[in-house]
């Protein structure tokens, strides 16, 4: 069985990396790449085992971390008089820049979440339907096609799904009675001697009808008008008129 365990959710690779940095209380300017890369990759592997979608984006960042790690292991050889370019100075710089930019929007997103809650408290009203008085409605030129096109446009505009069976269900009054069904069953058995139980049910249109038929059969058994038998387990059930 494919079961899933809910783990912390990450909005993306930066989010995961960020949470690791925060969990480890790391100075973002001095990330111990070796340790963080190890933890990050462990997480990504765990996601894989849990059958979560390990998207390529997570793997890209894993590769980046490993690249930074290897760069940091290599000694930087400087020719005499050569100045270090900022980017070369620390292979982590680019990553830090990206992380900080991401963090900025993460914080903004949280602020938006708060504001969203606050401004959900404001209510608006529906637009009034403004109809001109002298606008005598006239159906002369309206066809069923107009109605069809109009509805189709509304659906397209509002992006709603067309569930015709909406949330309203009409209950139809069932017109079956046990007495009626007893008559029907007896009639049928008069003509064909034996009948399979399934045949009755196949003829019915609703659960209500099936139940009524079943009650009628029980009633007939009780009244000893019919016998019911089954040749073997799970075999079909046969109804037969009782003689005498």
């Amino acid at each position: 069985m494919d079961y899933r365990i809910k783990i912390e959710s990450f909005e993306g690779p930066f989010d995961l990396l960020f949470q690791l940095i925060e969990k480890n209380k790391i100075d973002i300017y001095d990330i111990p790449i070796h340790e963080i890369a190890k933890q990050y990759i462990e997480h990504v592997l765990a996601m894989d085992e849990l059958n979560l979608d390990t998207t390529s984006e997570f793997l890209v960042l894993a590769a980046t971390l490993l690249e930074i790690k290897s760069k940091m292991l290599l000694p930087v050889e400087l020719e005499e008089g050569e100045q270090l370019e900022l980017e070369d100075a620390d292979p982590r710089n680019e990553l830090v820049r990206k992380l900080l930019e991401y963090k900025k929007y993460k914080i903004i997103a949280e602020m938006f979440k708060e504001r969203e809650k606050e401004f959900f408290k404001i209510f608006y009203k529906l637009k009034d339907e403004i109809v001109s008085d002298e606008n005598e409605e006239c159906f002369n030129n309206t066809t069923i096609q107009d109605i069809f096109v109009s509805f189709q446009k509304i659906i397209e505009k509002n992006n709603i799904s067309i569930d015709f069976r909406t949330n309203i269900h009409q209950l139809k009054k069932e017109h079956f009675t046990v007495d009626e069904k007893i008559e029907v069953i007896l009639d049928l058995l008069q003509t064909s001697k034996t009948l399979k139980l399934n045949q009755f049910f196949l003829l019915s249109n609703s659960i209500g009808e099936i139940i009524t038929i079943f009650l009628a059969i029980l009633e007939l058994i009780k009244l000893e008008r019919i016998t019911v038998y089954q040749n073997s387990c799970f075999n079909e059930i046969t109804l037969e008129l009782k003689v005498g």
């Binding site: 529906l126 637009k127 009034d128 339907e129 109809v131 030129n141 096609q145 109009s150 397209e156 909406t166």
Partner: protein
């Protein structure tokens, strides 16, 4: 709660509901006496007319509703969409098509689909005898269910509702939606 606060709450409730709201309901919602609500609404009505406000409170027996004043009708009328030459207005056509396809359906549902209040167009359709009430929904407010009737079929030359042109959901997906679907099916 002081009186100004009470008036503010009443105004907010009438605005948000935008249908007739009973005084009983108002008392229950705000948790104050009927007398207090009644006095406040009367005062508000006076203030609304004295201060030349754009709104008025309409009283219908025990029900109240916020509405615009008749004298502003000329301005409001210009907000309405361009008139169509002969035939149904778009408003009425839209309402009729929603009722035809989604029946039985409540006014609120039609309004939530159109995004506009639909009292007038439903009234027109009832008046023209194309739409009729079909019982009520067993939930708060027991809203009326609307459906089309045989005159509707007759007018549009249908023998039954099954003859309404079928709407194919797949055709309705826009390009972007299909693109998004592609992403997920990858």
């Amino acid at each position: 709660m002081n009186k100004d606060e009470l008036k503010g709450i009443i105004e907010a409730l009438l605005f948000a509901w935008s249908e007739p709201l009973s005084i009983k309901e108002l008392c229950k919602l705000i948790d104050v006496d009927k007398d207090e609500v009644e006095i406040s609404i009367n005062e508000m009505s006076d203030e609304f007319s004295y201060e030349k406000r754009g709104l008025q409170i309409i009283k219908m027996e025990e029900y109240y509703q916020l509405a615009t004043k008749p004298k502003h009708h000329e301005y409001i009328k210009s907000l309405l969409e361009p008139k169509q030459k002969k035939g149904l207005t778009r408003a009425t056509l839209e309402t009729l098509s929603i009722i035809a396809y989604k029946q039985p359906v409540t006014k609120v549902e039609v309004e939530s689909i159109r995004g506009v209040k639909c009292d007038k167009s439903i009234h027109t359709l009832q008046e023209k005898g194309l739409v009729e009430e079909r019982g009520r929904l067993e939930k708060t407010g027991r809203p009326i269910l609307y459906g089309t009737n045989i005159y509707f079929l007759k007018m549009f030359g249908l023998t039954s509702l099954e003859e309404l042109p079928e709407i194919n959901e797949l055709d309705l997906l826009t390009e972007t939606e299909n693109e998004v679907k592609d992403i997920f099916s990858r």
